[in-house]
Symmetry: C2
Subunit: 385 residues, 2 copies
C-alpha cells in the first residue's frame, strides 16, 4: 500500500433542484461573475435562463462557445474579460471542456507571464479565481479535481494544468441536466469514465480494497451507460453515471495503489491535439489496441481478473481469459455506437511519429504499468487504423 | 438515488513517515498548541517524543488521560486550558475518543453557554478552533468527519455533536502507529467499522454503486481484521483497515442511499452511557441480535444478499440465507475474540427501560430501515443477555 495525500475540498451539491442553492453559493464571492459555457445546449434545456434568473443581483459577463478540447485562444479571451471587468468568480456551466477552460482562466487571471507557459511549465500557481460549476455531462470528473487539459492548435500540443488552486469551490451535480446529452456524447463520456478507472486499475501495484472499489464503479458504468443511452431520462442511470464519473477521477478509489502513466489517456491526448476527435471516441479506439499490445504472460492474469469481474467472461486459462476481456472491452465500446477505427474518423498515419514522440516525452509512458517507447506507441496507433 | 451534499475538506496525509510533515502542517496556525492524548500508549511507541521533537518551535500545552467514551468533564478541562493559554490549534494524537474530545473542546472554546447544552442542543456552531489529528487506531473515522460523541456520566447520556466546523484540517494516518494496538482493540475497532458500513447498507433505499462500494470495504474488513490480529505489524492489513475505516465513516460510499437511523449505534450509545463498555464490543453483541429481531420476509432478501457477498454463505432460500448471514456475522465477531453476551461484560437488565427510552428518543430509531419502538429495543437487549 503506497503513501498518498488525499484532499478534495470541493463542496458537492448532488441531485434534483440543487440549482436553487446557486444564489447562496455565489454569495460567498464578489458581485462580478464570468459565466462560461459551450454551445447552445444550456439554452435549450432552460439552464441558461434559470441561471440568469437566479443571479439577477450579480453582474454577469459571458464567455460562450467553448469547444470540446478547449483552446488556448479561448482561455486568453476569458482572462481578458475577467481582467477588464474585475471578475470575482467564474461560474462554469457545462461539461469537462467548459470547466477545464474555466480553470485555466482562473489561474491565468493572476499569472503575469505567458498563459501557455503557465500551463506547459507545471509551475505551482500562487492563486486562482474561485470557480463554481454546474455540471451538464458525466465524463471528466473535472467538477471535483484540480486538473484541466488545454489544447494549443498552433503547436499541436495538448497539455494538462494541475494545481490545488483550481479545485472548484462548489459543484452542482443534477443528473436531470444530462437527460438531453445526445447518445454519442453519453457514450463518449461513459468511455472516458471507464478509461479513467482502467488507468488506475492497470498499475504497478494495487490493493485489495482499491481493486474492489474501482471494480464497483466499472461495473456501474457497464450497467448504466447502455440504459442511459436507451432511456435518456432515466434518473437512476444518469445519476449513477454522474456520481461514478466524479469518483472515478478524483483518486477516491485508487488511494494506496501505485499509480503510473495514464497510458491510453496520454496517447489519446496526442490524437486530439492533432485532430478534432472527441476524447472518449479516441479512448474507445485506442484502449483495446493498447490492451492487445501489452498482453503478455505477465499481464494476462490481471486482464483475466478484470474480464471476470467487470464483464463476466473467462476462458480456460489466463491468456484465453485476457483475450476474452479485451474482446469484451471492444464489444462494449462498439455497442455504445462509437467508431472503432481511425479510418472511420479520418485519422491517417501522417502524424504518428510526432504523436508517439510527444506521448513518450510528455505522457510519461516509459513509467507506465507496461512501459512504452515510441515504437510501441506507433505499433498501437497502427493497430487503430 | 437520493440528493446529497458531499464535502470532506480534511487534508489526509496517509502512509509511512507522514509525521515528518507535522511542522509544515502546524505552520498554518499560531504558536500555542493543545496536545490531546489518552493513556500512555503514544509514549510507549515513541510518538509522544517524536511530536515533542518536531514541535520545539511551538508552545505545547497538554491534556492527557482522555478516556474511551470521552467525558464531558475532560472536555471542560480542555476548554479551560485553551482559554487560559490562548491556544490557537488542537493537536489530537490518538484514536476516536481523543479526536472526539478534541472536537468538543474546539467547539466549546468559542461557545459562551453551557458545554453540555452546546452538544445536546445540536445548534449550529459559529466557529471552532482548528484541529489536526495523528491517528493511532482504525475505528471511528473521526479523523475525517464532522462528528464527536461525548458522554455525560451525571445524566447517563451519550450525545453526538455534528458540525462542519469541527472537521479536522489535516489528519496524519500512518498505519505503523497501529502496530501496537492490542488485539482486543483491533477487534473492537474493526467491528465498529463493519457496523458503520452495515448501518449505511441496511437502509430504506440503496443504489447499485453504493452497494458495491460498501461491500468492497466490508469485504476488506472481513479479510484484514483477522490478519491484523494475527500479525500486528502487517502493514498492508493495518493500512487497508485504516483507510477503510476512514471511508466507512465519511459518507463517501453511501452517497445516493436513503440513510436512516444508525440503529445498532444508537442502542450501543445507550449501553456505553450506562456501563464502561468498549463501543465495538457493545456493537458486536447488539448487531446480530438486532438482525435476528428485524428479520422478516421483507428484510430476508437483503440480509441474504449481504451474506452472499460479504461472507460467501447462502442457503436454499432467502430466509435460510439470511439466517446464515446472521450466524456468519456472529461467528465473525466471536472469532475476533470479543465477548458476545451482556452477561460476560457485567451488564444486567436494570437499565433496559431507560436505555430503550433514550435510544428511541435521541437515536431516531423510529425512522430506521426497520422502525423500532421501546419494546423492540428491550427485546433486542434481552437477546443480548
Amino acid at each position: 500500500m503506497e503513501n498518498f495525500q488525499f484532499c478534495i475540498p470541493t463542496n458537492i451539491l448532488f441531485g434534483k433542484g440543487q440549482i436553487e442553492n446557486l444564489p447562496q453559493v455565489m454569495g460567498d464571492f464578489g458581485k462580478n461573475i464570468l459565466l462560461v459555457y459551450g454551445g447552445g445546449s444550456i439554452k435549450r434545456i432552460g439552464l441558461y435562463d434559470k441561471v440568469q434568473k437566479l443571479l439577477t443581483d450579480w453582474n454577469l459577463y459571458e464567455l460562450s462557445g467553448v469547444d470540446p478540447n478547449p483552446r488556448l485562444e479561448t482561455v486568453k479571451q476569458g482572462i481578458e474579460i475577467c481582467r477588464k471587468n474585475s471578475v470575482d468568480v467564474i461560474l462554469a456551466v457545462g461539461g469537462g471542456s467548459v470547466i477545464d477552460c474555466s480553470k485555466a482562466i482562473a489561474a491565468g487571471f493572476y499569472y503575469e507571464g505567458d498563459t501557455w507557459e503557465m500551463i506547459a511549465s507545471h509551475a505551482p500557481l500562487k492563486k486562482a479565481l474561485p470557480i463554481v460549476t454546474v455540471l451538464t455531462i458525466a465524463a471528466t470528473g473535472s467538477e471535483a479535481d484540480a486538473g484541466a487539459v488545454i489544447s494549443n492548435p498552433d503547436t499541436k500540443e495538448k497539455m494538462a494544468l494541475f494545481d490545488p488552486a483550481v479545485f472548484p469551490k462548489t459543484s452542482i451535480l443534477d443528473p436531470e441536466y444530462t437527460f438531453t446529452v445526445p447518445p454519442k456524447q453519453t457514450a463518449a463520456g461513459s468511455i472516458d469514465v471507464l478509461s479513467h478507472l482502467m488507468e488506475q486499475y492497470f498499475v504497478p501495484a494495487t490493493t485489495f480494497m482499491g481493486d474492489l472499489l474501482i471494480e464497483a464503479v466499472m461495473k456501474t458504468v457497464v450497467k448504466y451507460a447502455p440504459i442511459a443511452m436507451a432511456e435518456p431520462d432515466n434518473y437512476e442511470a444518469r445519476g449513477q453515471l454522474m456520481w461514478g464519473s466524479t469518483l472515478a477521477d478524483n483518486a477516491t478509489l485508487c488511494n494506496g495503489n501505485r499509480l503510473a502513466a495514464f497510458s491510453c489517456h496520454s496517447i489519446e491526448h496526442e490524437l486530439s491535439a492533432y485532430y478534432d476527435v472527441t476524447h472518449g471516441v479516441g479512448l474507445a479506439i485506442i484502449t483495446p489496441r493498447w490492451m492487445e499490445h501489452v498482453l503478455s504472460e505477465k499481464t494476462a492474469p490481471r486482464f483475466a481478473h478484470f474480464g471476470k469481474e467487470v464483464f463476466h467472461v473467462h476462458g480456460k486459462d489466463d491468456m484465453e481469459s485476457a483475450k476474452m476481456a479485451i474482446d469484451a472491452v471492444y464489444k462494449f465500446f462498439e455497442s455504445l455506437g462509437v467508431p472503432m477505427t481511425f479510418t472511420e474518423i479520418g485519422v491517417g498515419t501522417e502524424h504518428f511519429a510526432d504523436m508517439a514522440k510527444h506521448a513518450v516525452q510528455f505522457g510519461g509512458l516509459s513509467h507506465g504499468w507496461v512501459p512504452l517507447n515510441e515504437t510501441d506507441v506507433i505499433t498501437i496507433l497502427e493497430k487503430c487504423l
